[in-house]
Every structure is written in C-alpha cells, then in structure tokens.
C-alpha cells in the first residue's frame, strides 16, 4: 500500500461531520418562482447587466458581461422575465448589484447537443470556457480561463484536480466524483489539451474511499498515449484543499509567497470546475447550476441539492421542509472558512458549495480570554506564521506592525482559531491586521 500524501507543516483535524450527507445522492431541486443573480460572482470586476427590466430572457441567455477587467459573462439559469435590476444581500460583500428573474415555469428546459470536443483546438476550448462563465467553483471564484492561460514563460507541467474537500460537513464534491466521475476525468483531459501538457493528478482525501476507487478506475481507463491521469490518496488533514498545501502534498513543490501556482509548474482546479468545463465544452452549456451540500442539525432534511444559481436560501429551506428548533447560525460555505449570514434572502452563487444550518451545540460561542502563549497556533498554522503575536498586537492597537509575523501570507484557513484553547478570534484579528498593516515594499 502506498503511503498517504499530505503537507508536512501545520494543519488540524476538526471532526468531519460528513456522514449526514455523504450518502445523499445529488437531487435536482425544482426551480423556485424567482431567482436573484448576483452580478459580482467572482473575483474581479462585477458584470454589468446586458438586459433591462421586463425583458424576456431564455435559458442560458447572457444577462451580464464584464466590460473591463477580469471576468466572465453571467447567464440566465431559466427562461423568464427580468423583474428588477437592483441590489442583493451578499454573503461576503454585504450587498452587490443583482438581476432578479421571474421564472417562466411554462418554458421547456433547454436541450443541449453533445459535441466531440477533440475536434476543437486549444484556443477554441479556452474561448468556450470563458463564454460559459466558468469560475473556480471550489470557493475562491477566480475566473477559470485566466488560470488556463498561465504567463508565457511559466514551466507548467502538471494539472492538479482538487477533490480533497477538507472542510467538515461538505460532501458536494464527493457526490460529484461518484456521480459525474466520467465528466470530471474528461474535463481534466480538456484542461490538459488547453494547457498543452499531459500529466494530471487528482488529489482525494482518504475519508472518501469510494470516490478514490471510482476515480482511480476512470483515470486508468482514460489514460492513453497523450495523457496520464492518476489519483493520489491523501491523508485527512485540514486545510488540504488549500491550493498551496495541495500542491506541496502531491508534488512536493512550494509556491512562493505572492506567486501563482504556475510559477512552480502547476495549475490547480476543483473537480467540480472540471465538470463545469466538460459541460461547457461538450454541451456548450454555461455554468448556471450548482451542487450544494445542505447540512447541519438545524435543517429538517439534509441533502446534496443541484440548484440554479440565484436560488435563495429561503427557497431551499422551504423545499427541504423548514429549519429545526435550535438553529443558531447559518453559514454559506464550510464551517472553517464560510461566511455566517444574517438573512435567508441571500442567493446561491457559482462559488457556493454548502449552506450549513448549525444548532447551538454545533458552534462555538464561548467568550475568548487572554492569550496564554501556549503556541498551539504556531503548530497549527500551515504557513508558518505567528497568529498569537498578531492577535496580541491587534489587541494592543499595534496592528500596523504585524507584517513581520506574516499577516499577508495568511489565507484565513482558521486552523489557529480552531485549536486556540483561549477561543481567541484569531482570523478576525488577522483580517483587521491585514487592513491596517504596512505592506512590504
């Protein structure tokens, strides 16, 4: 047996809580009466609407485009009429411009024809990825076509597919691998063709043995003279799904601070992004559906739902039979890095991978106390930073001086705050420090 790979420094083992939904097959949720599409789905400039109020739209029709800067178009997930162009609540940015579509339930679902992707060349494939509005659906939301066009002199030689899914509770990528493994592997081959390379590693944590088995079989079948695909079983350790940690676990390479993975010859995509690329290329289907894990003790029926982008949390709650007594916190994303929301009116975006309804006993509400300098955060930090010092500095109103402790290298995985016995809100301190600290020149 091959020993399991992982990243060497730091990390934690939060309880997994995946049993609740890992057996729940992907279930298509009926389209609600209204969808609200946030125009700023991704990192970079938000889309500008290309439709106007009361205009009729068809399924997969473009409703928003980025005029300047980094970005991808936005598509209507259903046929319907533009009800309003306004402002929506947003899980991370408080509010964002949005387009609301009144769904036409009479319209027939769009039919897509299968095409042979081998006939397209790399630039055609890349254009299709852009036109389908694909962004990294794992969470960061970086426009995918940009990642597929690394800077010209970078020595890219391998593609990593991220199937680690290290956040507790979430099983949407797990289900995608089990149910759409073929599409993911084909998607990987499309990416290899775009990048002009032939080596792909699919990293999956060892708590998903069925997905490892299935993907290994598919990878072996699909490997040919042009490309080699293989599955790497990884030790279960948070934050394995972080780009830098995954690259180190699988290839042993370290991405320097403030550099892109391409600098060490690697391009990383989420397994679900590979599935979206497959749909975009083979069916010319834009990205407007998302598989979302709905879990936690606060929801009547946990599930893995395939929903239209723009579906509001309240419609999902209604579909799943309401919330349970004792619901204390609603989180978009995983419990380690996700965002707590204060309203059920927030819509699902392309990057939403989970909505968690957590009860009082599932979350931590203890007040924090003074730092006892135990140093557990130093051990937990995968980046070798000093969270305790940053916290002490921020509390002493010295946030400007926290750069030497590595505040700008922090990607806010939350490992430090998870292990802290004094329950200190270290990620919150670090976010504050990032705003106030002086950047290195």
């Amino acid at each position: 047996m091959k020993s399991l790979l992982t990243f060497p420094k730091g990390g934690t083992h939060p309880p997994e809580f995946k049993a609740q939904t890992q057996e729940c097959g992907i279930e298509v949720m009926p389209v609600p009466d209204e969808l609200e599409l946030i125009l700023g789905q991704h990192i970079g400039a938000p889309c500008e609407p290309t439709v106007s109020k009361r205009e009729e739209v068809v399924e997969a029709g473009t409703i928003g485009e980025v005029k300047r800067g980094l970005g991808v178009p936005l598509h209507a997930p259903v046929a319907g009429k533009i009800k309003s162009i306004g402002v929506s609540a947003h899980p991370m940015r408080v509010s964002s411009p949005s387009v609301t579509i009144a769904v036409d339930h009479e319209a027939e679902a769009k039919k897509y024809e299968k095409q042979d992707w081998q006939s397209f060349d790399a630039s055609e494939l890349l254009a299709k990825v852009h036109d389908a509005g694909i962004i990294g659906v794992g969470g960061a939301g970086f426009p995918t076509h940009v990642k597929l066009k690394p800077p010209p002199n970078s020595p890219v030689d391998s593609l990593l597919l991220n199937g680690a899914e290290c956040e507790p509770y979430i099983t949407s990528d797990h289900r995608q691998m089990l149910e759409h493994g073929y599409e993911i592997v084909e998607g990987a081959k499309i990416i290899l063709k775009i990048l002009g390379i032939n080596e792909c590693h699919i990293g999956i944590e060892n708590n998903k043995p069925d997905a490892i088995k299935k993907m290994t079989e598919l990878a072996e079948q699909q490997s040919d003279g042009n490309c080699t695909l293989n599955v790497q079983a990884l030790q279960v350790k948070y934050p394995q799904g972080s780009e830098k940690q995954l690259i180190q676990a699988i290839t042993g390479r370290k991405v320097p601070a403030m550099a892109l993975p391409a600098a060490v010859g690697v391009v990383v995509h989420n397994v679900s992004t590979a599935k979206a690329i497959y749909d975009a290329v083979v069916y010319s289907k834009p990205l407007y559906e998302k598989v979302v894990t709905i879990a936690g003790k606060g929801i009547a029926r946990p599930a893995n739902l395939q929903v239209k982008v723009g579906t509001k949390i309240k419609d999902i709650v209604e579909y799943l039979g309401g919330t349970q007594a004792g619901l204390a916190k609603i989180i978009m994303g995983g419990p380690m890095m996700g965002f707590a929301v204060s309203s059920l009116d927030i819509p699902v975006t392309k990057t939403t991978s989970a909505i968690l309804f957590l009860s009082e006993d599932e979350i931590d509400t203890k007040p924090h106390s003074q730092c006892i300098r135990c140093g557990w955060c130093l051990e937990a930090c995968p980046m070798g930073l000093e969270p305790k010092e940053i916290g002490i500095y921020v509390e002493a109103n010295m946030a400007e001086d926290t750069e030497p402790f590595g505040v700008f290298d922090c990607f806010e995985c939350g490992s430090c705050a998870y292990v802290c016995p004094a329950k200190r809100p270290l990620v919150q301190f670090i976010r504050l420090a990032k705003m106030k600290a002086k950047r290195p020149q």
Binding site: A340, S343, H368, R373, G406
Partner: protein, 351 residues
C-alpha cells in the same frame, strides 16, 4: 459581557434569530480551563502520597496555599477592574505548585504571603494571565526564601514511620526538622550523604518513590513522572522542555558533579532537588516559556545548565527554581530569535 460579545463578533442577527461571526465557526474542545484542571489532577497523586510520607499537615499547607491563591486572584481581578477568572483553574494550579515547592513544616502564614506576592504582584500587576513573565509559584517561593531564609531551609521533615500521618501534629518543627539530601551532600559531603540516605539501587528506589526529606513536589519522582507522561500523552506539553532540562542536568552532573570529572551521578541529579517537578510542571508553563520548539530546546538546555551551576557553585543546593526564574523573562526574547519556518518566502527573498 456585552463588550466581550462585541469583540467576539457574536452579535445576534436581525430579529434576534441567528448568530453571525467571523470564521471558523467550529472550535476544538480544548480550553484553558481543561488544560489547567488536567495539570491540577496530575498533581493530586503526589499530594496524596506526601500525606503518607510527611503526615497530614502537607494537606493543610496545600489547602492554605490553594485557597489563598484563589482568594488573592479574585481580589486582584476585582480591584483591577478585570473579569474574575478563578474558575479557569490557573490560581488553583499556582497554589498547588507553590505548596509543592516549600518545606512541609513551615508556618501557614508563609504560603499566604507568597500567594499575595506571586498572584497580585507577580501576575496581575504585570497584566494577568498571559502577560506575567515569571512563573508565579516559583516567584512565591523565591520571595519566601529571601524573606524567611531560616524557615525555608530548615523546616524539612523526615518521612514518618509507618502510617503515622498525624505524628507531627503538635510537635515543634525544630525538634523534627532535618536537611534535604542535596543540602547534606553540598554541606557535609558524599560520605555523610551515603550514611544518611544509603547508596546504589536502594537509594534510587527510595528517591524515586518519594521516601526522603524534601518538599512535597520533589519527593515522589515516580508519580510526578507519571503525571508528566500523561500531560505529554494529552499533548498539553511536549517533550522539548522536560527532555532538554533533564538531559542537560544529567549530562553536566555526570561531567562536573562528582569528586573528579566524569564521576558524577546523573540519575541522582535528576531524581533530587525538584528537577522532575521543575522540568515537567514549572518550566513548561505556557506563559513563561518560549512557544517555538527550537526556542524551547535552547530554553531547556539553559535551565539545565544554570541548575547544575547553581547546585555546584551557588549558595543553594537545589537550583532549578532560580534557573527557571532566570530564564522565564527570556522566553519572549527566544520567541523573537527562533521563529517558525515560513511556508515559502516570495521569489527573490523576503521583502
């Protein structure tokens, strides 16, 4: 409380429905209280044994010490306008450790005075838990040693006969006091030491099991080691500090601790003079030791070396108390010298 809640970001959502806060939303089940009370629990077996070694008054002295530490902590925090945190167990632990490092025959007034000095001046005036740069229990002992040198160096008791745990009650301390093994060795030489405590395997056994004069915390090496190993198993302490201290003491004692070079007794050196208590329970105090593992190793080696230096050249036979206190304030300095290794610097070097 409301201020605390705000700073935790645990404000309640509109309509009083849900909580919102910055990630992560999960926290591990470990807490400061759990750590402190576990360490306290690890110190209970040696305390119980001490009752059978020195009699019931060890329990009395310990109770006085613990209660006064807790009371002083509560009063200090109240008067300084801070949140009273006596439930976190850190004052109880300080009280327990303080009782473990003073002679069992002293007047109960001494631990009370030490508690005031250690907790109020040594801990809360410096900012409270996390900001004190000396180990409070050892600071209390040092204060007593400076203020009551006679009592602190003579009120040692010989182990009681059989199960006569009440035999010292009502007797004057002067009548029964004896000297600690290292004091005998230092002041009267090896021959007197061997006459008094034996030699070879029986010496090691009696020292390891705790049947010899000393303070509560230095008698039972076996039970202290057991508790220390449990703390290691739980991950509350790591091997770096205890191993580097004990290793250094053993090595240097072997080299320079005997009549001639390389004839010292390393095993005796670590079984006596509170080396086990100091290395597992005192020097590993989070607040007053470095956080980085490399820093901890250097810290431990320095403590070990200072201990041997004090034992051989200094005025005190035990040494580890002052060795730790001397190194405590350097912990933060060590943390700035020995930093964790960053994941990867930017291309072209840092900055």
């Amino acid at each position: 409380m409301s201020k605390q809640q705000e700073s935790d970001g645990q404000a309640t959502a509109m309509g009083g429905l849900w909580k919102v806060s910055i990630s992560p939303h999960l926290k591990s089940s470990e807490s400061v209280e759990k750590i402190m009370w576990t360490v306290v629990a690890c110190l209970v077996p040696p305390l119980i044994l001490s009752v059978f070694v020195f009699g019931i008054q060890t329990l009395f002295i310990t109770a006085v010490s613990v209660v006064s530490c807790v009371v002083v902590e509560a009063i200090s925090q109240k008067t300084l306008g801070r949140k009273v945190t006596i439930k976190d167990g850190s004052a109880v632990l300080t009280g327990l450790l303080l009782a473990f490092v003073i002679p069992p025959g002293v007047s109960p007034l001494l631990p009370i005075l030490a508690a005031v000095f250690a907790i109020y001046i040594g801990k809360h005036l410096l900012g409270g838990i996390g900001y004190n740069f000396f180990n409070p229990a050892l600071l209390g002992r040092a204060f007593l040693l400076a203020s009551f040198p006679v009592a602190m160096t003579s009120a040692w008791l010989s182990p009681v006969e059989g199960f006569g745990i009440f035999s010292y009650l009502g007797t004057s301390i002067d009548a029964v006091s004896t000297a600690t093994p290292l004091a005998v060795m230092k002041e009267q030489g090896m021959v007197a030491f061997t006459n008094m405590f034996g030699s070879g395997a029986s010496l090691y056994t009696s020292f390891f099991m705790g049947w010899r004069p000393g303070c509560i915390g230095e008698t039972s090496g076996f039970l202290l080691l057991l508790g220390g190993l449990y703390l290691l198993y739980r991950g509350y302490i790591t091997w770096h500090i205890p191993v580097s201290i004990l290793g250094t003491i053993a090595f240097l004692s072997w080299v320079v601790g005997g009549e001639t070079y390389f004839t010292g007794d390393p095993l005796l050196a670590i079984l006596s003079g509170g080396a086990l208590l100091g290395s597992f329970y005192m020097a590993t105090d989070y607040v007053t030791s470095p956080s980085n593992k490399t820093g901890q190793l250097v810290f431990g080696i320095c403590i070990g070396a200072l201990t041997v230096l004090i034992r051989i050249k200094g005025g005190y036979p035990e040494g580890i108390c002052y060795a730790i206190l001397l190194m405590n304030p350097l912990s933060t300095v060590f943390d700035t010298w020995f930093k964790p290794k960053r994941f990867a610097p930017p291309v072209g070097g840092a900055k």
